[in-house]
């Protein structure tokens, strides 16, 4: 079980590295899809079937969107990598974060022992024990999502609404025709 989990995580890391370093954009996009499907499998291993279903469907649509951005390029490359100092700075930054993570790791709860067991005031125990009785929903994730924490869901619905609105506005005909090449025109609004 742990071995399977570790190998899936390794698979995801390798896919992410390939996605970021391959030259052709379409292969990068497909490797990014591998990351998403890998995380769906990990969710299934972690006993989160809701998340696995959602992640796999979302990943399909994300792949469709990403492939849509690359289709018209017809295999043109990305070009050479960025200049030296910037890569070195970014590498140093990531290394620093990794070292601090190494110091932080022993303080984290051990794998397989949920945080809710250590903290008595955590709401999760309450949700687990009284969720069915209070909401009547057998799926406790749905009970939390739509009953105990419905405010979050409302906020999320607002975010999706705004994001879709933004995408629609960016690509609406009015915006495309009235300011074909112009950043000036956009500034006036």
């Amino acid at each position: 079980m742990t071995v399977l989990l570790l190998s899936l995580l390794l698979f995801m890391i390798i896919a992410a590295v390939i996605a970021l370093y391959t030259e052709e954009l379409i292969s990068a996009v497909i490797a990014a899809g591998a990351v998403g499907f890998g995380s769906s499998a990990v969710f299934l291993l972690l006993r989160a079937p809701d998340l696995a279903i959602t992640q796999i469907v979302v990943e399909v649509i994300a792949l469709v969107l990403l492939i849509r951005t690359t289709l018209h390029l017809s295999g043109r490359g990305v070009g050479e990598g960025p200049s030296g100092p910037r890569v070195r700075a970014a590498g140093l930054f990531c290394l620093a974060v990794l070292v601090s993570v190494l110091f932080a790791l022993p303080r984290l709860p051990r794998f397989g022992e949920p945080v809710m067991d250590r903290i008595a005031a955590a709401p999760s125990g309450f949700y687990l024990e009284r969720g069915l009785e209070l909401t009547g929903s057998a799926n406790l994730v749905t009970a939390i999502l739509l009953d105990f924490r419905a405010y979050d869901t409302l906020g999320e619905a607002t975010i999706i609404f705004t994001a879709v609105l933004g995408a629609l506005t960016l690509l609406s005909r009015k915006c495309l025709t009235s300011c074909p090449a112009g950043r000036e025109e956009e500034g006036e609004r």
Partner: protein, 122 residues
């Protein structure tokens, strides 16, 4: 200390490194998606119980105390579920923005876009 958390952090850092060094807009979108996957995984891992059962009651497991002692934490799962869907809408917005930039400048390369924008300003 488990290597599982370490690997999740490494995945996160791969995304951060990509975000800092890549210049192509599509690669940047992919980096954001990788970071998001790592964060989601970390949150769900924090609620995992060894040999646990999914937080979904069935007719067999519906005695509350017994169930609460065996189930994994449903709370991070609910939050991550919203985060995944928000991630999709974020991705749609990012793809919209980069398609629009391609429409204007004819490239996904950020440095070329910056160069072209600077020339336009002149």
């Amino acid at each position: 200390m488990s290597p599982v958390y370490l690997l999740v952090f490494v995945l996160f850092l791969v995304g951060v490194f990509g975000l800092l060094t890549r210049r192509n807009l599509v690669k940047l979108i992919i980096s954001v998606a990788v970071i998001e996957a790592a964060v989601n995984l970390f949150l769900v891992l924090a609620g995992y119980r060894r040999e646990g059962i999914a937080p979904i009651m069935t007719e067999q497991h519906h005695r509350a105390e017994e169930f609460a002692a065996r189930a994994v934490d449903p709370f991070p799962q609910a939050m991550v579920l919203t985060s995944i869907v928000i991630g999709l809408s974020l991705l749609a917005l990012l793809v919209g923005i980069s398609l629009r930039l391609y429409h204007i400048y004819g490239t996904y390369d950020l440095s070329e876009i910056r160069k072209a924008a600077r020339e336009e300003d002149r």
